[in-house]
């Protein structure tokens, strides 16, 4: 390996992208999830992170003409159990997939950060052998949140591990042109005064709580692009029949609206998009 080999000249005109399987969401992300970089999606539980991950695992198998990578995908999960039924269901509803799509999704459970650090070096030969073009880690936060204490020394050690993992993932991404998607959890923000601002928005709200991404500032340095998904409960006016039937509304129907927003990305402006989760997957609402 010589330093001149690291030069990429002339530059390609486009970064390859992985479709999300929905034209509205693809347009929102400028074509999809970019390869060669790390994309993080953070959201509170029940917003749709895992749904989106599963959809991406299938989308990677689509032919390149349909926005896929025509390759296999790897799903590393630290949140249990693995939602195999939902994946199976989705595979029926997603169009244009090749035969037996589940055969090309490799799944490995993760139990600790050390386990992840053991898995990553093995990928050097597994990724080309299995033709993997997408790695999803769901979720990165679950690995770290139990393991480290809240002392300066432990936190320093933790951020060292962040950079190690991120650098290895970025290496794989460059070497094999992978798309890497990580999911992250949220933490509540207490006291808004001396709150460190990362990204486009002063404060992010989900279900009426002010939240920010878990794992702090040093982890934020480890991802190239950060997306935030949130939900809002909205009271819906009762329908005509209900009102006539029972009189005073002791019941109020709540409807959940879901949104996705670019917190930071090198190629995307601050914008957001509403989406819904249906049987056939996640769909953007224009």
């Amino acid at each position: 390996m010589k330093p001149e080999d690291l030069l990429r000249h002339p530059l390609p005109t486009q970064t390859p992208k992985l479709t999300l399987g929905c034209p509205i969401l693809d347009r929102f992300l400028g074509g999809g999830i970019p390869c060669d970089t790390i994309t993080e999606i953070f959201a509170e539980s029940g917003t749709g992170k895992t749904q989106l991950s599963l959809q991406l695992l299938l989308a990677a198998q689509l032919p390149i003409s349909r926005g896929g990578l025509s390759a296999s995908s790897l799903y590393l999960h630290s949140e249990f159990p693995f939602p195999s039924r939902r994946l199976h269901q989705l595979s029926f509803y997603r169009p244009h997939l090749p035969q037996n799509p589940l055969d090309r999704i490799f799944v490995e459970p993760l139990h600790s950060t050390d386990h992840l650090l053991d898995v990553l070096p093995r990928l050097d030969f597994l990724v080309p052998k299995l033709n993997i073009k997408l790695i999803v880690i769901d979720s990165i936060a679950a690995l770290f949140r139990g393991e480290y204490e809240n002392t300066p020394l432990e936190l320093k050690r933790r951020s060292g591990v962040f950079f190690k993992i991120s650098s290895k993932l970025k290496f794989l991404a460059r070497e094999f042109g992978l798309a890497v998607v990580l999911t992250n959890q949220v933490v509540d923000v207490m006291g808004s005064s001396n709150n460190l601002r990362i990204g486009n928005s002063m404060s992010l709200c989900s279900s009426g709580r002010t939240v920010c991404a878990a794992l702090g500032l040093s982890w934020a340095n480890c991802v190239n692009m950060r997306l935030f998904m949130w939900r809002e409960e909205e009271k819906v006016g009762m329908s005509e029949e209900e009102r006539l039937g029972e009189g005073d509304g002791s019941f109020q129907r709540l409807q959940t609206r879901r949104f996705i927003r670019v917190v930071f990305a090198p190629h995307l402006p601050d914008s957001s998009c509403e989406f819904v989760i249906r049987r056939e997957g996640i769909l953007g609402v224009s």
């Binding site: 390996m1 010589k2 330093p3 001149e4 690291l6 030069l7 990429r8 000249h9 002339p10 530059l11 390609p12 005109t13 486009q14 970064t15 400028g30 970019p34 060669d36 970089t37 790390i38 300066p152 050690r157 951020s159 060292g160 591990v161 950079f163 190690k164 650098s167 970025k170 290496f171 991404a173 460059r174 070497e175 460190l196 601002r197 990362i198 990204g199 486009n200 002063m202 500032l217 040093s218 934020a220 340095n221 991802v223 190239n224 950060r226 917190v263 930071f264 090198p266 190629h267 402006p269």
Partner: protein, 347 residues
């Protein structure tokens, strides 16, 4: 300068020339005793001659301003003169240019740091494009090296910024020069992209190797006027067991970059991350890599959020005073903050 023009006696002059000492430079390294032998004169006479020679050389130096006491040395006057005539690389945000004294300077190492999403990479890409603005438009007409250690460089974004830059040049052209002949596209956006030499780095070993290789590369590719490293930090924040080794590697790299900046008259821009520092019972934000690294760069600029606006603050500079200015990241690249324009108008 010839010996024949020296104010010495004619016989000495003749002896010098016949002994083969025809130029002043041939006299500069010879020892008095050797010269006395060669010319067959007394050492006192030789010392007289050498005194005249060195006085003469001194006058030459002051007149020409090109030679120096030592090779490569310059007087402060020379340096000031050079600095005043040098062209800065604009950031495309006039408020930011103003506090920087015109933009990013050549021959200097400028470090820019801030939280994720503040616009470090955006500024890096903007500079890689702006360095290419031709001399007719007040630019340097140079090329850029972009060393990407984080994988955040997006070609789509770079060509978007290049397109906006080309449009701005066209507009400038049509405003300034009314003749239709000059109103042509000098530089298609594609040409901007071709003049960015992009290195993708995945380990700190690769990073050091590329920095060492730069001198050879710049020698082979003329007109490189900016080297951007985005970011200098990333691979040095992994578990380094030997922190002293890290400091040595970093300061070695900083010295090399400083030398490149001087030698090839180019700007070096290092993007840095921020970290929290535990200080007297509270956590504060500082640029990463520690105190010894703080010496590595000539200028330090910190990018931060102020309310809903992005600001840049000069933290360290030998020539500019501490000041801050708002800027905005728009679809066309780095520009003046919109709300600031309104404020100026109100006053």
């Amino acid at each position: 300068m010839e010996v024949s023009s020296l104010p010495i006696s004619a016989s000495h002059r003749g002896k010098l020339i016949s002994a083969g000492y025809s130029s002043l430079s041939s006299l500069s390294s010879v020892s008095p005793s050797k010269l006395a032998q060669d010319l067959k004169i007394s050492e006192n006479e030789v010392l007289e001659i050498l005194k005249v020679v060195s006085a003469r050389k001194w006058v030459d130096k002051i007149e020409n301003r090109s030679h120096a006491i030592m090779n490569g040395a310059q007087t402060a006057w020379d340096i000031l003169h050079e600095e005043e005539s040098s062209i800065c690389i604009t950031t495309s945000c006039s408020d930011l240019d103003e506090i920087l004294g015109g933009g990013i300077r050549c021959k200097e190492v400028t470090e820019i740091g801030g939280v994720p999403g503040i616009g470090k990479t955006q500024l890096g890409i903007q500079l890689a494009v702006n360095v290419q603005i031709p001399a007719d438009y007040g630019g340097l007409g140079g090329k850029a090296i972009y060393i990407d250690t984080e994988g955040s460089f997006m070609v789509e974004r770079a060509s978007q910024i290049a397109e906006a830059c080309a449009e701005d040049m066209l507009e400038y052209n049509s405003l300034l020069r009314k003749d239709s002949q000059a109103c042509r596209v000098d530089k298609p956006p594609k040409a901007f992209m071709d003049n960015i030499f992009y290195f993708r780095i995945c380990t700190y070993t690769e990073q050091i190797a590329v920095v060492n290789y730069l001198e050879k590369f710049i020698n082979e590719h003329k007109d490189i006027k900016i080297v951007i490293i985005d970011s200098i930090t990333f691979h040095f924040r992994q578990e380094f067991e030997d922190m002293a080794l890290r400091t040595r590697l970093l300061s070695g790299m900083a010295l090399k970059l400083m030398k490149l900046a001087k030698k090839f008259n180019l700007a070096v821009v290092l993007l840095n991350q921020v970290t929290t520092k535990y200080n007297e019972g509270s956590f504060q934000l500082t640029l990463a890599l520690g105190d010894s690294w703080a010496h590595a760069s000539t200028n330090r600029i910190i990018l931060y959020w102020n309310g809903n606006e992005r600001y840049a603050y000069i933290d360290k500079s030998p020539s500019m005073r501490s000041a801050s200015a708002p800027y905005a990241v728009t679809s066309r690249g780095i520009r003046n903050s919109a709300s600031n324009c309104k404020r100026v108008k109100l006053m």
